[in-house]
């Protein structure tokens, strides 16, 4: 598997909902509508967050799309879904039915890069650069400038 993203390690792929290029963010697992609502109250945090739905249901995170999250990752579902329809409208990076390689899940706080090209979405984890390394600032890397506009 090729990797054009220096400093990042490929960890899995799934369906990309909309081709918006590559974007970074910090993972947060959201498993319930209550957790989703708590995140919604912090607009700035939503923008920096790649929302990860650890279970099989995905629709309940759709309201977060109105607040422009850094991305959404699901382990179930397809782009032909409610989440896909809303995500396509807002042009948010969404990778659905992610199949991880060498990881069982994505821990909260993991710095991610989502590459959404064509119908394929790939997920990368930022490599550790040693003790005392400064964490990178999450944000768009490549792609449609309107995504975070």
């Amino acid at each position: 598997m090729g990797n054009d993203h220096e400093g990042f390690r490929f960890v899995g792929q799934g369906y990309s909902v909309v081709p918006v290029g590559s974007h970074e963010g910090v993972a947060m697992n959201i498993a319930t509508p209550q957790q989703m609502i708590k995140l919604l109250t912090n607009s700035q945090k939503v923008k920096e967050t790649v929302v990860v739905t650890p279970g099989g249901t995905t629709t309940f995170v759709a309201p977060l799309l109105y607040k422009n999250p850094a991305g959404i990752i699901t382990f179930a579902g397809t782009p032909e879904s409610h989440l896909g329809i809303v995500g396509r409208n807002f042009r948010v990076p969404i990778i659905m039915t992610l199949e991880l390689e060498g990881m069982d899940g994505i821990p909260d706080g993991t710095h991610l890069l989502l590459e959404c090209e064509g119908k394929l979405g790939r997920v990368f984890v930022k490599e550790e650069t040693g003790a005392g390394a400064e964490p990178s600032t999450a944000g768009p890397v490549v792609g449609d400038a309107s995504v975070l506009g």
Binding site: P33, Q34, M36, I37, L40, T41, G56, T57, T58, T59, F60, P63, L65, Y66, A76, G77, P79, E80, S81, H82, G84, I85, V86, R88, N89, F90
Partner: protein, 188 residues
């Protein structure tokens, strides 16, 4: 338990999770002053968070709405005819989602748009079969008819733009509402 009007206002937020205070009266179909007073009460009780005119339902508000659904609809939701109705709904729901997704990816192909509208019209006929059991569902029929007219009039935003009362938004809210009446969690 909530009274019916308070339920309508809080349920609108339950289904959307978040809405503008200015839009809520139209969504609920009640006068703005009345809805404003209800919303103030919801905020005081901690059921709704007012973020500068943007209303966000809170877990305590969700619990109130869910209690209303349980107490009002548990008998109706367990009827076999409702389960049969839902099976028919699921079939056209899959078609609707596919057609809307196709419409987005064909940049609004008019032939696909016709399929979207035809599917909405099928759902409207289906909803008419259950308005005797759930009379407030006539509001969904009115909203669908209004948005179909808007799309037919040339405003394609009303197919699936999330920030207006689009066909997809209404469909999604109706689906959530019906699942709550049935007392079933979403499967996807």
């Amino acid at each position: 338990m909530l009274d019916q009007q308070a339920f309508l206002a809080l349920n609108a937020l339950y289904l959307k999770k978040m809405a503008s205070a200015a839009d809520l009266p139209d969504m609920v179909g009640l006068p703005a002053g009345e809805v404003g007073m209800m919303v103030s009460g919801f905020v005081e009780r901690g059921w709704v968070l007012d973020m500068g005119g943007e209303l966000l339902i809170q877990p305590e508000g969700m619990a109130e709405v869910e209690a209303y659904y349980r107490e009002t609809y548990s008998d109706i939701g367990q009827r076999e005819e409702m389960a049969r109705w839902y099976t028919r709904f699921e079939s056209i729901n899959s078609q609707f989602i596919k057609f809307v997704s196709d419409w987005q990816q064909t940049e609004g192909d008019p032939r696909v748009q016709d399929r979207v509208i035809a599917t909405v019209e099928r759902l409207v006929k289906l909803i008419q079969q259950i308005t005797e059991l759930v009379p407030r569902y006539v509001a969904y029929i009115r909203r669908f008819e209004r948005s179909v007219t808007t799309v037919d009039g040339g405003n394609a935003d009303f197919v699936c733009t999330p920030t207006v009362d689009s066909l997809h938004n209404i469909w999604f809210e109706f689906h959530e509402d019906f699942l709550a009446v049935l007392g079933r969690p979403r499967e996807a």
